[in-house]
């Protein structure tokens, strides 16, 4: 096999190259030739093609994401956008780093491994910052729950998220599971990881110091995950060559666990100058990003990379996305110690190159130069597009289709049927079938986990300092109005964190959209980014980083815009956390916030009428802020026994979850319009229970938050005075049967069915 070296490329400038098959545009290929002053070698073409892909270069989203950088400086932000993950100061010398990433397409192709390696990838991002990963969360979207392909994809995804996270010893403390037709051919798997370190332990992805060694450690490099290169690979195939490799990576969480412990020991012994994980685009990405962020260049001898498959070509080695690998920059005097730590943890490590003077990234293959590029042109100076944008043509009609026209329940029996329909729908139903497959206890610091409003973790056993995290991404609201919908998702995540008594501190995001080449999708994306940036400015929170996932569509049909927003909050004393369930009878149930007749994009309209139209609820971030400050005060003073955020499914959903948590009912009076009270999805609302209602009312009045007295906890039913009495047993049967009936399990039960005639089917 002849190697396409830099010299060969210079001497044969007119060789045909498969740039189009690798996803490059004609002008992009021309620009590579211009940068290099010759045609790229096969290996260089491979590097540019993966690094200039949408996934790595953010070429369509970059011009919009700049809005986040324009937000006012935050004292809490220690490391911002651009690194592997943002880092936030949470007090007492602790820093927290957190990030969400998508692994949507791999999870559709191979649900278990796609989801598993999604978790593995985000965990390495957090580890790379110098932090010990302490928990994960997952935000999942699937097609209709009863669609045949959902039965293929969902169980695999859940088992993959669990299989990888459980084996790493990271508690899964929350997330989302929602269904919609639009995800049938394109499920969403967004995984979050959060890590903790001391301020001085923050590490960056930089190659500094000429003569320092480049060490590749972790798993050996194999042929997995070479998606876009299959064409390139076939070019070099011959009769004895390897078969085409699967594009989806295969995870080995055991190796990643060893990698975590080894890295933390390397950090503790100060053996690392710079570090980068290997994720998308593998070695191409790690070497070019490390070199690009540093002050010098880098040289790599590619034949020193430990391989699982000796037949891999140099280009394949550069592009392989084999999992559980890291790349470190190490001073020569510390290499022996570095390798000793790796040996202790049975982690394979190899010196593959060194940091050089100058500004080139060079790669040799058995002494022949196959790459010689300016690293910034690969990693940071890729193409940037100002894609055309256009407001979706159907949006006016969609927004004009007001849910006010939908038939409402006219009798108590119908009201009860609608209630049961909403809470037993796949979106509203008990998620235990999923969350029982996740370890929520490991490491012993989980204070609250699913089904609570937010995950809450203790980070210091002496001081009881803790954090809270929530992920929210209502796509119905975003479809009706991406600007407002994104602000609503931010508001919901913010409120969920606040409902535990935590003070919200920072924001991350995973923006899942269709094709950027569709102007209507690009408009949705731009509106979502504008909404998030404006919302963060109003709430005084920094965006610490994020992830963009485009091309989520089936054929020409894009998914509903799905901006998943993560909010991190701080508990000064995590013992004061507020749970969401009702434990005790005799507590007064109070609604904080104002209810308006808002049904656009609501769960009620969707479940009962299959309707999506109108305007999403009004966003009032000043009210959200007052509510959050009130909840923090109530938690600090121990004035409430529970707090539950109102969101999808409104009060009906919140009452159901609070009552069923510990089997405590309530007697309630909801006024003249029980329907609006139960199913409106007005934002900035939380239901709390308290033994000191007068004090809560006083504090709320001072904070300017409206309070409505709903009733008293107790009994074995949810009773609406003079309207209906819903026994908890019946409610639980309806709420908990749905997912096991759809996805199986040892304890099969029948799906709750709404009595015929009580729910309109229009």
């Amino acid at each position: 096999m002849s190697i396409d070296t830099v010299d060969v490329a210079a001497q044969n400038p007119d060789d045909e190259q498969p740039w189009a098959e690798l996803g490059l545009k004609a002008d992009e290929y021309a620009r590579i030739r211009e940068i290099l002053g010759r045609r790229p070698t096969t290996a260089e073409l491979a590097m540019y093609s993966v690094m200039w892909s949408e996934h790595c270069s953010y070429k369509s989203s970059k011009v919009h994401l700049r809005r986040f950088g324009d937000l006012p400086a935050s004292d809490a932000l220690l490391v911002g956008i651009g690194e592997n993950a943002g880092v936030v100061d949470v007090g007492e010398g602790y820093a927290v780093t957190f990030k969400v990433e998508s692994h949507n397409h791999p999870s559709y192709v191979e649900p278990y491994q796609g989801a598993a390696t999604g978790v593995g990838g985000i965990v390495r991002d957090i580890l790379t910052m110098g932090a010990r990963p302490i928990a994960v969360m997952d935000s999942l979207r699937f097609g209709r729950a009863d669609a045949p392909d959902t039965a293929r994809v969902l169980p695999g995804v859940v088992a993959g998220v669990g299989g990888y996270g459980n084996c790493l010893g990271l508690p899964n403390v929350g997330g989302e599971l929602l269904f919609d037709e639009c995800y049938t051919g394109n499920p969403l798997v967004n995984a979050l990881c959060v890590g903790v370190m001391k301020h001085e332990d923050v590490h960056l992805a930089k190659a500094e110091g000429a003569g320092n060694k480049v060490i590749l450690f972790g798993a050996r490099t194999g042929g997995d995950g070479i998606g876009g290169v299959s064409v390139l690979a076939s070019e070099t195939f011959d009769a004895e060559g390897p078969a085409k490799r699967p594009a989806v990576q295969v995870g080995d969480p055991f190796t990643e666990k060893l990698l975590i412990e080894a890295c933390l020991e390397l950090f503790a012994q100060d053996l690392v100058t710079g570090i980068q994980d290997l994720g998308g685009a593998g070695l191409s990405c790690a070497t070019s990003e490390l070199a690009s962020a540093g002050t010098g260049g880098m040289h790599v001898d590619l034949e020193t990379v430990p391989l699982r498959d000796s037949t891999l070509t140099p280009a394949e080695i550069l592009m392989s996305e084999s999992q559980e690998r890291m790349c470190a920059i190490v001073e020569p005097g510390k290499v022996e110690q570095f390798l000793a730590v790796c040996r202790k943890w049975d982690v394979r490590a190899a010196v593959i190159g060194e940091v050089t003077d100058g500004d080139r990234l060079t790669v040799d293959w058995h002494g022949e130069r196959i790459v010689d590029v300016p690293p910034r042109t690969v990693a940071h100076e890729g193409p940037v597009y100002e894609r055309p944008m256009e407001r979706p043509a159907d949006l006016d009609a969609l927004q004009a289709d007001d849910p006010a026209r939908l038939p409402r329940p006219t009798t108590p029996a119908e009201l009860q049927a609608h209630w049961l329909a909403v809470v037993s729908s796949p979106d509203g139903a008990d998620k235990s079938w999923v969350t029982e497959q996740y370890d929520r206890y490991v490491r012993g610091n989980t204070v609250l986990a699913q089904p609570e409003d937010a995950g809450v973790l203790r980070i210091d056993e002496q001081s009881n300092l803790g954090i809270a995290l929530s992920l929210d991404g209502n796509a119905r609201f975003a479809r009706l109005d991406p600007y407002t919908g994104t602000r609503l998702n931010l508001a919901e995540a913010y409120r969920n964190v606040a409902a535990t008594g935590a003070t919200p501190l920072a924001v991350t995001n995973c923006l899942n959209f269709g094709s950027p080449e569709n102007p209507e999708v690009m408009w949705q994306f731009a509106e979502a980014v504008r909404g998030l940036a404006d919302g963060c400015r109003e709430l005084g929170l920094p965006v610490t980083g994020g992830n963009v996932s485009l091309y989520n569509q089936t054929g020409d049909v894009a998914i509903n815009p799905t901006p998943v927003i993560g909010v991190l909050g701080v508990h000064e004393d995590v013992r004061a956390r507020i749970p969401s369930g009702w434990r005790n009878a005799g507590e007064t149930v109070l609604l904080l916030g104002e209810t308006r007749p808002e049904f656009g994009g609501s769960a009620w309209a969707s479940v009962v009428h299959g309707h999506l139209g109108g305007r999403p609820p009004v966003v009032d971030l000043a009210a959200e802020r007052s509510l959050a400050e009130l909840l923090a005060a109530l938690g600090r003073d121990g004035l409430v026994g529970s707090a539950h955020d109102l969101a999808d499914g409104g009060l009906a959903q919140a009452l159901t979850e609070s009552a069923l948590r510990y089997g405590t009912g309530a007697r309630l009076a909801l006024g003249d319009d029980a329907f609006t009270a139960l199913f409106s999805e007005s934002a900035a609302r939380v239901v709390v229970t308290t033994t000191e209602p007068d004090r809560v009312r006083n504090v709320a009045a001072a904070a300017g938050v409206p309070v409505t007295d709903l009733g008293t906890t107790g009994g074995e039913a949810l009773v609406l005075d003079g309207v209906l009495a819903l026994p908890l047993a019946e409610l639980r049967a309806a709420w908990s049967a749905t997912l096991p009936a759809l996805f199986g399990g040892p304890e099969h039960s029948t799906v709750f069915t709404v009595p015929a005639g009580t729910v309109p089917t229009s």
Binding site: A159, G162, G163, N166, C167, L168, G169, D252, P253, F254, T255, K257, L258, W345, D346, S432, T435, E436, Q437, Y438, D439, R440, Y441, V442, R443, G444, N445, T446, V447, R458, E461, V574, R575, G745, P746
Partner: protein
């Protein structure tokens, strides 16, 4: 009182076990699988996790680690040993406890808060409980179904070596609802549920798990 907690490659609940020992009033001592050194501890905990990624069979590779040879010898001499979840699997693979742990009958990993009935309150790890007492501690495993030949199960029950049984639901299909068993001398105990996750009100479903660690401190004194 020094209680060792072994870390194998892939151990996960070692930090939790050490915390439980500390909260019970003992001194946790970190032990490394690759050393032949028990560091003069008075008892040993094999924690939960996925040692060696559950490759081959859960617990099979860890059972053959250097330190386990010392643990087996010391256990035959009466050293109290507790195996939790993966630790229980290691003890079965090492021959210190009878039976085997196989894939859950429903084939899913399952994590829930589980009621157990204490069947033996006279082992080194259970003396602070009362026989027949029910305790609530988390269970979380993918391969926790306890199995043995019927004749062996009959013999185990005949020798009164079942220490815990699942009540109000068997989370993994274990034979005869067995959650934990003990050695003939009552010094070695293995169970699938996780007492170390039920030692603080803040983080556990109860503090019912603390009794394991307070029990062994007394067992060591009286030994």
């Amino acid at each position: 009182m020094r209680i060792g907690v072994i870390t194998f490659p892939g151990s996960l609940d070692d930090v939790d076990a050490a915390r439980a020992v500390r909260l019970a009033g003992g001194e946790p001592v970190a032990l490394w699988h690759g050393d032949h050194d028990l560091k003069d501890v008075d008892a040993v905990v094999l924690p939960g996790g996925f040692s060696y990624g559950d490759y081959l069979r859960a617990g099979a590779i860890a059972a053959r680690s250097p330190l386990m040879q010392d643990v087996v010898a010391a256990a035959h001499g009466g050293l109290p040993v507790l195996g939790i979840c993966n630790g229980f699997q290691v003890l079965c693979e090492a021959g210190l406890l009878p039976g085997a742990l196989t894939r859950n009958s429903h084939l899913h990993f399952r994590n829930r808060d589980q009621l157990l009935r204490v069947e033996r309150a006279d082992t080194a790890w259970t003396s602070d409980y009362a026989e027949g007492q029910q305790i609530l501690i988390p269970v979380k495993n993918g391969e926790g179904r306890y199995v043995a030949a019927d004749a062996d199960l009959d013999r185990l029950e005949g020798e009164n070596r079942v220490v815990f049984r699942y009540v109000e639901g068997n989370p993994n299909g274990s034979s005869r609802d067995i959650a934990g068993v003990t050695s003939a001398n009552g010094r070695v105990v293995g169970l699938m549920p996780h007492p170390e996750h039920a030692v603080e009100d803040l983080t556990g479903p109860s503090t019912d798990g603390l009794g394991f660690f307070t029990s062994v401190l007394k067992a060591v004194v009286s030994a």
